[in-house]
Assembly symmetry: C2
Homo-oligomer: 416 residues x 2
């Protein structure tokens, strides 16, 4: 199996394709895709006035967010999942970013939207969207991961597809105003140590966030990937809390209260706490631990081309920094190979890795293991369960295994 | 006017907003947006099953690509323009990337699409899309600019809006296979010095590209911003020619011929050559020179908030490298200020700049001037015309001026 981390390795991979493609070349002579002139080569397509805002090809209609009907009682307080197995690079397109709502998608009129800053501040303030546009802006790429991502896997392999096991994540370039500027504008009183962001939708989502984090890297974001936030992502304004669990990134943000202690609201007590084996619960587990998953091959994306040169790819991220290294195994951990990273590396952003190998057609056990810039290494399921038990829903960042059979089909399996 | 390049400058800008927002705070008591409970705060929105592929808020319907009807005889061989004044950051969302077609949008079936490599190669090859997925991939962010971008401005200020003067550009993260790997697979003969990529649409677009460039940084791209290419951007396969004029980035790429000399086809003789004042034409002017434009304020995005703290922003790029610096003037060049850059800096990618200032309500003349990593500085219109005359359509990278009147309205104007 060719190691993919060197240029020589890449060329070796390329040459290997040559052998595999001998059949393709021979096929060309009788290939109707070559011998026949296709419609699109002999007739005019739509003009530039046809799609003022574009959409994907009809051949990509299968690439979509999906929900799991049995997961929640109702679709307005539910989640859908990013199709990670259909994506590449590190940017999640806006139309495919996973959603989690508590009262459905609020359709907010930006002209009537306000952001209030109140509580322990010198001057309570109310901002229109136009007011916020007068503060300096920053552009940064961050992943947003739901704390419950991979939550179904605590007790064993459950869902057959990385879209469902790991798809409560997206990675986007945000444009926004550092929250610090707005808090400084209001003037936080000495006693102020926490903030409580609140959403404008009917669920009025709230979470307690330490002031230190609020003044560090949080953004009041109004654009994602260059354009306005999407309604399902909090249009016209959402809080960005880099590296921390997605539930804290309050959408349709209408108010930030400054207080002297946390509020212990529903979403940080009965929810978003981690029940351990001894009945105690961890709380305020905000940071997302380093994690990775192989997106291809995977249960929704089997190997269709048969033995020979094969590209394995996946994504990795950490709430504590960047991902300098990902290891990959195709034999269930007997041999590990350092994956090739390609694409930008930012703190608290998704990273893309590849491992090219020559598949001999035998069954495989695929795993990936992320290392983050703090030195932390993604644990096995066994290691994680030893520390946390299996009662929790949240913060499962264990190594994921896909079993590949001799036909290239992939399945979610448990290995020790 | 506050210089924006230091932290102190930012805070100064922030404090300045305070004064400007005193009115906002006072307004809050009687503001119906505060005193009335909005519909979205008291009723459930759509569920997660409503939008398998999302779209922008209805309040953003004005954010769209636009064409200029008089510019071309027909919309199937025409162009539409990216709404730069509505975007921020550096990523252009896929639905808003400008388009240029010569026979309309080809709707290609990826299962029937083939890429042929022929001409001066050891082994002519034909690849399916699935074959190409077996080569190692790279992820890189590049701008694509039409050589005719700003082409209407050679003889004077024409179009009122940066969407129309500068909107034939987009900036996207591509995933693709380095063209080098596929050429190495076929084996380029010693005599091979040029390639001719060819499109599968009815226009069968072709351009001659030196082999040196083909082996350097060109990509066979199949994804943009994480998802499949859009039909109007060449789905399922386009050539990416970093830093070079957009016409060479052949869409719906079906064939690459290797030859020993350029082909001198239509798009590199009667088109995409630069007629000088003496009647001679420059040819093979592939690289896009360093350029910038202020996107806000601009004719389509006037200052609506009146005097006080104001955010000026824009984009800059160079086909030769990165943009370490952009200068901004608000008084027609009497005083220049170094702009604040925010967001990733990649070679041959768009960069975002900002300049925050305290507008006193008097008329302004706004200009930006890009410096690229080779030391090249964006020229004035006068400087450019001295060298190139005014006969050309292509490669106008001159400094753009917007005049702002006392009401905040912006206009495209000529200054010496």
């Amino acid at each position: 199996m060719a190691n993919s981390t060197t240029r020589r390795g890449l060329l070796k991979g390329g040459l290997a394709v040559s052998a595999g493609l001998a059949g393709t070349k021979a096929m060309a002579a009788g290939d109707p895709a070559i011998t026949e002139v296709q419609d699109w080569a002999q007739s005019l397509g739509e003009g530039v006035d046809a799609r003022p805002y574009g959409s994907p090809s009809g051949f990509e209609a299968h690439v979509k967010r999906r929900n799991v009907e049995w997961l929640t009682a109702d679709p307005v307080s539910s989640v859908n999942f990013t199709p990670l197995h259909e994506l590449d690079g590190i940017i999640t397109p806006n139309g495919l970013c996973f959603e989690r709502h508590h009262a459905g998608i609020a359709e907010v009129d930006p002209g009537l939207h306000r952001l209030m800053i109140n509580g322990l501040v010198d001057t309570p303030l109310v901002f229109t969207m136009s007011d916020l546009m007068r503060f300096p802006r920053e552009n940064r790429v961050y992943f947003l991961e739901c704390a419950a991502n991979t939550g179904m896997e605590w007790r064993g392999a459950q869902l057959n597809g990385c879209q469902f096991t790991h798809g409560m994540i997206h990675n986007v370039m945000y444009t926004g105003v550092p929250l610090r500027y707005v808090l400084e504008e209001a003037g936080v009183k000495t006693a102020g140590k926490w903030i409580l962001p609140e959403g404008a939708d009917a669920s009025a989502m709230t979470r307690s966030i330490p002031l230190e984090k609020a003044l560090d890297d949080c953004l009041l974001a109004f654009k994602m990937n260059g354009e306005a936030l999407r309604p399902e992502q909090g249009y016209p304004l959402r809080l960005v809390v880099p590296g921390w669990e997605g539930n804290m990134w309050v959408k349709w943000l209408r108010r930030i209260e400054v207080g002297d202690q946390p509020w212990h609201h529903r979403e940080e007590t009965s929810k978003y706490t981690d029940l351990l084996a001894d009945g105690q619960a961890r709380r305020f587990t905000w940071e997302m631990d380093a994690k990775s998953v192989i997106t291809n091959p995977s249960p929704q994306a089997p190997i269709l081309h048969g033995p020979g040169p094969t590209v394995l790819t996946g994504v990795a991220w950490s709430g504590r920094g960047s991902i300098p290294r990902v290891d990959v195994t195709i034999d269930g951990g007997m041999n590990w190979h350092q994956a090739r990273m390609s694409g930008p590396s930012f703190d608290k952003s998704m990273h893309r890795f590849y491992y090219e190998f020559d598949w001999d057609g035998s069954p495989l056990l695929l795993q990936s293991r992320a290392h983050d810039s703090t030195g932390y290494v993604q644990p096995t399921k066994t290691q994680l369960r030893e520390v946390r038990g299996v009662n929790s829903i949240y913060h499962n960042n264990a190594i994921q295994t896909w079993a590949i059979d001799e036909k290239g089909r992939a399945e979610n399996v448990e290995v020790s």
